[in-house]
Chain length 370, copies 4
Amino acid sequence: MKNTFGTSVAVTLFGESHGAAVGAVLDGMAPGVAVDEDFIARQLTLRRPYGAISTGRVEADRFQIVSGVFSGCTTGTPLTVLIPNEDTRSRDYAATRALARPGHADYTAHVKYRGFEDYRGGGHFSGRVTAALVAVGAVAIAALRGRGIAVGTHIARCAGEFDRAFAENPADELAALSAKRFAVLDEAAGERMRRAIAAAAEAGDSVGGVLETAVTGLPAGVGEPWFDTLEGLLAHGLFSIPGVKGVDFGGAFDHTALRGSEYNDAFYMDGGAVRTRTNRNGGINGGISNGMPLLLRCAVKPTPSIFLQQQTVDFLRGEDAALQLNGRHDPAILHRARVVVDSVCALTLCDALAQRFGTDWLGGAPCAAD
Amino acid sequence: MKNTFGTSVAVTLFGESHGAAVGAVLDGMAPGVAVDEDFIARQLTLRRPYGAISTGRVEADRFQIVSGVFSGCTTGTPLTVLIPNEDTRSRDYAATRALARPGHADYTAHVKYRGFEDYRGGGHFSGRVTAALVAVGAVAIAALRGRGIAVGTHIARCAGEFDRAFAENPADELAALSAKRFAVLDEAAGERMRRAIAAAAEAGDSVGGVLETAVTGLPAGVGEPWFDTLEGLLAHGLFSIPGVKGVDFGGAFDHTALRGSEYNDAFYMDGGAVRTRTNRNGGINGGISNGMPLLLRCAVKPTPSIFLQQQTVDFLRGEDAALQLNGRHDPAILHRARVVVDSVCALTLCDALAQRFGTDWLGGAPCAAD
Amino acid sequence: MKNTFGTSVAVTLFGESHGAAVGAVLDGMAPGVAVDEDFIARQLTLRRPYGAISTGRVEADRFQIVSGVFSGCTTGTPLTVLIPNEDTRSRDYAATRALARPGHADYTAHVKYRGFEDYRGGGHFSGRVTAALVAVGAVAIAALRGRGIAVGTHIARCAGEFDRAFAENPADELAALSAKRFAVLDEAAGERMRRAIAAAAEAGDSVGGVLETAVTGLPAGVGEPWFDTLEGLLAHGLFSIPGVKGVDFGGAFDHTALRGSEYNDAFYMDGGAVRTRTNRNGGINGGISNGMPLLLRCAVKPTPSIFLQQQTVDFLRGEDAALQLNGRHDPAILHRARVVVDSVCALTLCDALAQRFGTDWLGGAPCAAD
Amino acid sequence: MKNTFGTSVAVTLFGESHGAAVGAVLDGMAPGVAVDEDFIARQLTLRRPYGAISTGRVEADRFQIVSGVFSGCTTGTPLTVLIPNEDTRSRDYAATRALARPGHADYTAHVKYRGFEDYRGGGHFSGRVTAALVAVGAVAIAALRGRGIAVGTHIARCAGEFDRAFAENPADELAALSAKRFAVLDEAAGERMRRAIAAAAEAGDSVGGVLETAVTGLPAGVGEPWFDTLEGLLAHGLFSIPGVKGVDFGGAFDHTALRGSEYNDAFYMDGGAVRTRTNRNGGINGGISNGMPLLLRCAVKPTPSIFLQQQTVDFLRGEDAALQLNGRHDPAILHRARVVVDSVCALTLCDALAQRFGTDWLGGAPCAAD
């Protein structure tokens, strides 16, 4: 399905970095979800470059809702967001188009699209396309909120610096994170991270890290035993985010030396509710939500655009070449990517919930339609 | 799509641990792939319990190809494999059905299927269903082989013990692995792992670890930029394997502290071919294969079935309870799971290749049909 | 998706006429639907050859439910039905494999599957595969019945003879049809049809006709405005039935000379319910059910297997040839196909309903599971 | 999948009659197909109201290609077309929103979307959305042309008047049709049809009819035996076109009284090619193309918007009501719908061909990209 993702609630992405616009179509969202343009704008702000640690490209991200909203609510028919490209500095991309930037998709795009790819600024591979994901993700986040489900992400690791872990019940932390531009639980750790990013930037280099996401309020019984496991669905979407090269649940890659007696999450009754004492399984057993907070992490590689000279090839000439990037590039994208992660998680969970409970369930919150 | 996975080449899984059979339908495979029943049987052997470190349950895994093979080759129509359940010890599962085994899907299955689930031996959630995946995966592996593409997996970590990493060109190592029942590159490491497994078993406990997979010979240009990235497709499938709770590419979770200059894979010309000096991106740029070996890892949690007493709930009575498992359980499944990982990778790649190059491409190798 | 159809409730078909078995996997059906093996057997009987007007091949259609049923109810996991092939007379199909039977798929199968197709008795193209559709369709019909939804089909035309049309409210007629082997509303018309079939058979020839289907009790609001219209979904499935070459709704092909004032169905209130005076739109407006009976027709071509000599080609030698069929062939399949039509309609509607109302909706009727 | 259709080549539709725009995303089209904006504009002209027999609404259909085209060719990434709504007369739709227009989707939309639907001018159900289908369909038609495949449709019946049938080899006729605004093979028949339309218009009424489509140059071996039959795929898409209530192949609904000996298409060798003497099967055997022209028909109901007073309900008040439409409405849409039919056929066939032969096949014609 290429650029469409989802079964009952589906997103289709389009656009190139230096074309007319990027955009997304959100199809299958329940009718009656209130669409708050201010909230969408705020989410887009969280994705935008920020201060000294980001690219200088200024993107206003003026978005237009082209379809699917009427009287302030989703109609249930396709909701299309268009984000025109404004600050696209025209320079001669043709001259360097065949110099494959290491860590980027220039070469693979060329092989796949046989030379017809729009190579300007990464074209359709550009991180800019994630702005559209964030815009429709904001609608999904609002729909989940109407059902008491919250999603939030913090920078768990950056350039070797660690944030503290989520609390056992992260609901309050998620609320706090939603307002932060540099999303950490421990501000001191955040300060160390920003310094490390600045140091890398000064060296013409870049950093990566780990994002950790929590989802609270998700009902038990969502997901499938084979293939459409919650883990599989979420990972499928998350690996679309540029730079994400690993996804785990409950911090699995850190716990591979534990024994079963340490890893198993003991169940207990908490009032009438079934809960677990620990949450190493990240809220998912057998591919299906168990009612505990969903916990996942994304390993984000260092931004591939760096200002140090790199060895590469000219793939049209078939010869080795040196590459020196100029322009505007992020020394880190973790702090910008986290709202993309939230968006992908929200969209994926809306889909799983709509499959489970039908297309009206997420529209349960009454909207002020006349 | 629940129990069906894939677009052009798709697998459908069915069956329960204590039902009549488990099985799989492989649809969309190219016509003309030779089907070698001995190879299928050998792959099934690799998944079966092995020696002192596995469950005592003896499964002959006699399989029957019910459709889709004619004169020794795939016909191109659905290939169905049936594996009857033979050694299903009848005991009274009803008495303990509501005692949710920690780390298992008993509770989530109950919520999802509203009490109608087949709870005997894990039902449809049983790892036994992976036998069917391995059987049809063997056909996919053979199809890839016909195109010079090899898949192999070793136990990179087990119970805190480490195997060595794949060589830069792992082709020979993959060939060697295919014959090993306990798939390690370094036999001494394997011996330490087996001792660690045995120690855990003696303590009534279990262990987990990390599986690392390499794919060689994959052409560049396969995969999609958004959503159907190679990473996303592979992870989607891999998270179906019971116990897999994390997937990364190029060892991403181990490299999050690197800088871009260390992480980027420099391109160079090698004869007429574009290659990279390192392979931290695991053979994938922008979701699309770049012609280098594909490298991925699965974090596998410790087997949840242990013989130590555990705290849990009786979810029908809604009260806390203690759980003491008996019977046959694996102290580790890494060595059995690796052939499942190979199978899922092979099936997923066949799908991506058939989408890219059409439905005949994988049947290129002439079959001895009359 | 080839041999899998459906989104939330999906069917996968497999098997060949002269292989080990034909079968189907029904995935996504709600848990808790009572599975009555006698009803499945009865439905299979309706598909079987019948009296003088059918092929002499006797198929016992002994089916086995391999997975997905526990304690007499659907579990919600894949329900697999296997129907072993028993009466497969062995003769030398290889000698005549390249003589393309007119109206059959021999030649197109050969082009598509490049010579690897199982050519014996039509292979995977055989109408025998519909036995598996009928078996899982019976489960879908039972699920719908639990929600007060009934499906039924009569032979509206056969060999130029006409049955009368459905009554405005066809509920009673549907009940009566379900017990008939030769499904007509007017027995005198049925007698004329059977005589016409017998006359064609005597001439070594075959006949076709039109099947008309009604669905009562379907709630309004099911289906989608674009692409997944109820008409589109149903037609997609129905064209799989061998011989179906046309599908219309509300008898559209007979009404193309009407004016809008004659065709439009006037709405009126009937108690609290919205209904229409006529039903030329077949219960569907804008792709979505309107609460009136759903009405559709399938044009079924004459059975292509006839005993008159035919001109054809030997596609391996690339030369013209004459073809004289022997063996067992139906002079008409309308009376056998109608239960296949019912099955496809039921499966398709279960899918649309599960997408609309969630995966539990069809399991609403309590099952006698403990 | 709701508003997305296709597997390898897929279309996503969005927009409402009185919203900002309608549009479509075409994903998966081969890179390197030349995109001729003049041709797109010409196709849109064919869909626009025409002379005395159409609605007075003037739609300039100024379209904008927002993504997916670079240097005049498709890039292989999503191609998005946006058609802003210009001539949307603002009137008070709210007052009459609950008066269900017979034959329209007002009532079913209300039930499905629970009152949140955009009810102005039919909203997302408006035929105006087909303008977007035609725009991306033009790209598909161009892609097919690059492979020697032509698609064309004529008005076979209108208001009881008949056009003559396609010639055995309709290639020349297709070329002639592409330039006609009122697409008939026999101009005298066309004149009778236009008179009949005018007569109905004068009476405040409307007419319907039958469109017949031919596709030449389609290679044999495309389509699937079950579910994704060519017939099923095409019908699935075609039933999305507002007013289409029936689809058949080879004129099946007219031939149900024939015997098999009359209906079967005899094969013969024509040079090296396998052909059939007649083409009652419409170029498809067993769901798969046989190399003959594909022939299909769409039954189109009379336009439901008429100026005669009609009986209906006010579905918010739950009471009977009378309805008198004003404004601009087509007395016939056959002549406008035919280019929509061509577009849906082209898009569906591109998908089937890309699945069969891979994603590059349709881009075979070299594009003038630098």
